[in-house]
């Protein structure tokens, strides 16, 4: 597979390490009264879609960017690649 890195251009997927669903960006609030349930779901429960999947890849053998790659799990077609930091900021994560 080839991942079109937003900063570096197309790179072989072998340079990357895969983590999983990009929902892992949305770490729950540990102060929430349902924190136990929220963290359980956050860490374990997956949509596991057959189709478009937003997922986290780490450019370990490259610039160490975490990327959010939107990839089809049926065809492996990649339709979008973003810096995970940008995605996280856009989703309201900050400090």
């Amino acid at each position: 597979m080839i991942i079109d890195h937003p900063l570096l251009g197309p790179r072989d997927a072998a340079e990357f390490v895969y983590l999983g669903d990009a929902c892992l960006i949305d770490r729950p609030d540990p102060g929430d009264e349902n924190a136990a349930r929220l963290f359980h779901d956050y860490l374990h429960i997956r949509d596991n879609p057959a189709g478009e999947h937003r997922e986290l890849w780490f450019h370990e053998h490259g610039d160490r960017s975490w990327l959010v790659v939107t990839r089809n799990t049926l065809t492996h077609e990649i339709v979008r690649v973003e810096l995970a930091r940008d995605v996280a900021l856009a989703r309201g994560r900050d400090r």
């Binding site: 072989d12 999983g20 049926l74």
Partner: protein, 416 residues
């Protein structure tokens, strides 16, 4: 029709014209006591044990394609009960015992071949872990032998003992481990279940569940609605998709596991050998092909195919371990979609929907578990209580913290 050498002689002398279908091809009835979704190893074994152990026969097994054409027909055929944790080991040992009596039980030769399985270790910490595991196996009655380097050299002189990057220190040997002719397992169970009255229904895809007030009352299929008092889903690889039809989300990701087979060769490798310093394991089929594989590709996918780097990684491990296989040619490589669970261990459990049962999350190890998986799911469905050896395989274990994490990799599906 009972299978025996006499039957073969009789048929052989009459042109093999008298053989009967191994299973019937009935049309689905409108209602069954039990509907099992998935005509693979686990589904078929569940039906067989429901019928043979619990006397329940008003059962349909629904398969969207042809039976045995999912992961049970796509694995590397290894059986073993060499697990570490008490949540796993007794279960896999039950499976091993069932394998050992399978052929006589179902009157079908699945070629259960206990030629032994060796897990190699290359460092002192790996050795310590192997000893801990071996003793856990002995406690469970599974049998285990610790081989030192010299013993290994005698058993497997073709391993690279001279130029190794990671010297082999020894191996943990389970003499009862081995391989089974995988396709025959599902055919044998299908035959056994069919003969007891179970309807095996092919080309019948489940498209929905009939759930009313939190109770599952049947399934929608491409061949019409089928009512049921109890429904079990045994579709590992597609668990997320099928259980999604029932509105359930799972601690499972779908990943592709690739495997390879070489051209046929005269006997070269005894039993099963697993490399401890890379991703590679190998056995040799009765036809002579070296059957080998390694790790999953590592990304979520439903495509039954992987990519080159994984195959290269596997072959690198193979060449590092036994460079005599270099000139054996890979004939075919294929990929199967597996349910990777969040702790690497499976589920055999009821679900929040009453009457709906689930078996899945088998990761890359579902084949060896087929007999016990079917046996324990049948037990749960027939008696209402989990079988003793499968008590830990619950869906809520991540909530309680009672995880069964053999590898100690944590809640990341692709690391197990």
């Amino acid at each position: 029709m009972r299978y025996s050498v006499l039957q073969i002689l009789k048929e052989g002398l009459t042109g093999n014209r008298g053989w009967k279908p191994v299973w019937r091809e009935p049309d689905p009835k409108q209602h069954y006591d039990i509907v099992i979704v998935g005509g693979g190893g686990h589904g078929m074994a569940t039906a067989y044990y429901l019928a043979s152990v619990h006397g329940l026969t008003d059962i349909a097994v629904l398969e969207k394609g042809w039976i045995g054409c999912g992961n049970v027909g796509r694995n590397t055929t290894i059986i073993r009960s060499n697990y570490l944790l008490p949540g796993n080991e007794p279960f896999y040992e039950l499976s091993m015992k069932l394998w050992e009596g399978l052929e006589q039980d179902i009157n079908y030769n699945a070629m259960v071949s206990q030629r032994g399985l060796i897990n190699l270790f290359h460092t002192d910490p790996q050795r310590d872990a192997a000893v801990r595991r071996g003793n856990a196996m002995l406690l469970a009655g599974a049998g285990a032998v610790l081989l030192d380097r010299e013993a290994l050299r005698r058993k497997c002189p073709f391993l690279d003992f001279d130029n190794e990057r990671f010297p082999i220190k020894g191996g943990l040997w389970q003499p009862r481990g081995g391989t089974v002719r995988h396709d025959a397992v599902v055919w044998g169970y299908a035959r056994g279940a069919d003969r007891r009255g179970v309807d095996v229904i092919q080309n019948c895809e489940v498209t929905g569940f009939d759930i009313r007030n939190g109770v599952c009352r049947g399934v929608e299929t491409t061949r019409g609605a089928i009512g049921a008092n109890k429904v079990a889903v045994c579709v590992a690889g597609s668990s997320g998709q099928v259980m999604g039809l029932a509105g359930l989300r799972l601690p499972i990701e779908s990943h592709v596991l690739q495997a390879c087979v070489t051209e046929g060769l005269k006997p070269a490798i005894p039993g099963v050998i697993t490399f401890g310093a890379g991703h590679f394991y190998v056995s040799q089929s009765d036809k002579g092909g070296l059957v080998f594989g390694g790790d999953i590709d590592g990304y979520n996918t439903y495509a039954q195919r992987g990519n080159l780097p994984t195959v290269e990684d596997v072959c690198e491990g193979g060449m590092a371990l036994m460079p005599m296989i270099g000139r054996a040619r890979v004939l075919r490589m294929w990929g199967g979609v597996v349910d990777m669970s969040m702790d690497g261990s499976p589920f055999i459990d009821r679900t929040p929907v009453e009457g709906l049962f689930f078996s899945g999350g088998w990761c890359y190890g579902g084949f060896k578990a087929v007999p016990a998986g079917g046996y324990c799911l049948a037990h749960l469905m027939a008696t209402g209580a989990p079988h003793r050896v499968a008590e830990a395989m619950r869906l809520d274990r991540f909530m309680t913290g009672a995880v069964i994490d053999e590898k100690g990799m944590g809640a990341q599906a692709n690391l197990h």
